[in-house]
Amino acid sequence: MLTATLVVALRNPIHSALSLLVMFFHVAGLYVTLHAEFLAAIQIIVYAGAILVLYLFVVMLLNIKREEQFNKQGVVAMFLGFVLLAETVLLGISRGFLIASPHAPLPVQAGASVGNTESIGELLYSTYLFPFEIASLILLVAMVGAVILTKKGIMEPKS
């Protein structure tokens, strides 16, 4: 919560990005406490590792100097934030905090003997092999497409 506030509050975009990184690590910690080790690892690899680096690249390349861009939205943001907060509190009170689902919660199969990561891998290569392979085709298309659309000198404009 603190770091999430810092992301918005800090003036220097680089500092914001770094506090975002800390927040990602905390979210990963939350996943670990929920026994979702795989998700925690993915959270760190994908968000902290890849996405944040992209952010930093963009921030550094664009070299944002002007920091007063969004300062006029403060009132609107506070109003919306207040409404959302009130809604959350109301819902929490009326439903007794834990929203009682009208249906029995779905059974959660905790991979007791094998770890979370192993069971996901197991499923990915057995039951869900087919979607997994389609995803690889999608990546192939994206890769070749990126080359085709950006490489110089493979197509000449009409004279």
């Binding site: 389609i134 085709l137 999608i138 298309v141 497409g145 493979i154 197509m155 009409k158």
Partner: protein, 493 residues
Amino acid sequence: MSIPLADLVTILPECLVVLAACVLFVLDPVMPASKKDFLAWMCVGTLVVCFFITAAGMGEKTFAFSNLVVVDSYASFWKLLLYVVSGMTILLSIGYLKEERIDLAEFYGFIMLSLTGMMIMVSGSDLLVIYLGIELMSISLYIMCGFKRFEAKSIEASAKYFILGAFSSGLLLYGISLIFGAAGSTQLVEIAAAVNARGLDDPLVLIAMMLIIVGFAFKVAAVPFHMWTPDVYQGAPTTVTAFMAVASKAASFAAFLRVLLEGFGGVKPNWSGLILGMCILTLILGNIVAIVQTNIKRMLAYSSIAHAGYALIGVVVAGWMGTGAGVASAGVSSIMLYLAIYSFMTMGAFAMVAILRRGGLEGEELDDFTGLAKRHKGAAFLMMLFMISLAGIPPTAGFIGKFYLFMAAVNAGLTWLAVVGLVFAAVSAFYYLRVVMVMYMREPSSEQELETRLALSPTAMVVLAFAVAGVVFLGVYPGPLVSIATSSALPLP
């Protein structure tokens, strides 16, 4: 990890298509430029082989890959149609790409991978697989739209299609994740069970159903989710436009129907009401706005929106309250019939746009067709044939397609909807016949006579021959196609 051999045999056509694409990507850089046509012919050859494999397996119903994939007659019907359309696109592209100087063999690879996505869509029995199929199809199409990358319009089409397509995929995925929350599975069978048990009183199911319908409506370009269509169709290279207008629409309809009937079969009256609204809006907007277009590609884009509206009549019939299983399945088979016929005539019309050239550019403005009959009698006659077929005038195939759709609507007690369809078919005749009028009644200016020419390659002639054969043969003797469509309609619960 072991892949069961039987599963691989079931999806043999998909494997072959992917293999052809991969071989193409590998061979392309090492082949001399003069031999590149070979790669296109290899793709066409693969499609012919796949056509016979799928046709031989018609009538069986096989599940594969832990019930994520189903190959039944319904899927086979759509696959056969998709092979034909893809083959025609490739043949048409061989000449067109050279003419446009975007002659890259990768183009055919993208068509093959896009086709793979469509085949996965039509035979997915699991929302996850259907979604991935849609993505594979769409991403290939985004790239193909931007193939004329030195032209601003083409890049605009690609970017617009990408952003709106990604947005609609997001909606669809959101719907899928909500229904996964309600059913605990993405399999259509289990979703059907959950929907039957809970009904639409459960907001989770209701919102999921609406989001999934919206996601698919984007893909089939139904009003009010059609905004991307005109710009994308106009900017993309013409053969890609033809491929999008025909193949991606057919595959999206196929998956849409399967999800609605097999997944949400328990709440038919609810979704058919929603789709009825969309259907009428689509018919009105598509046909009315097409009237004011002066660019043929744009006009055909609106006409393809309108045709989606006609096909939606079949969807409404399939889910309408109180219709018996016979009538509902007639609704499904009339969509299959309609889209098969629509494929031939639209493919033909776009092929004409692709081969008619003015100077170095495409003849895509209505003016370019002025007095075509005086200069190229054959071309003008073919264009007229496609136009009257699109308008649905007998004895062409377009009439047969509309006839079966309206019949299905009347049998379901929706006579008024058939009348609405008929009125807008009459409206559409205005803008289709205007093209014919311009070709036959107006004198070409002398400047046009010098500039306009036909870039008719032998392969484009094969495509035109196919399209004409489809339009005329199916118009005069639709029996075989009707019986195939009827026998392979989705079995209704």
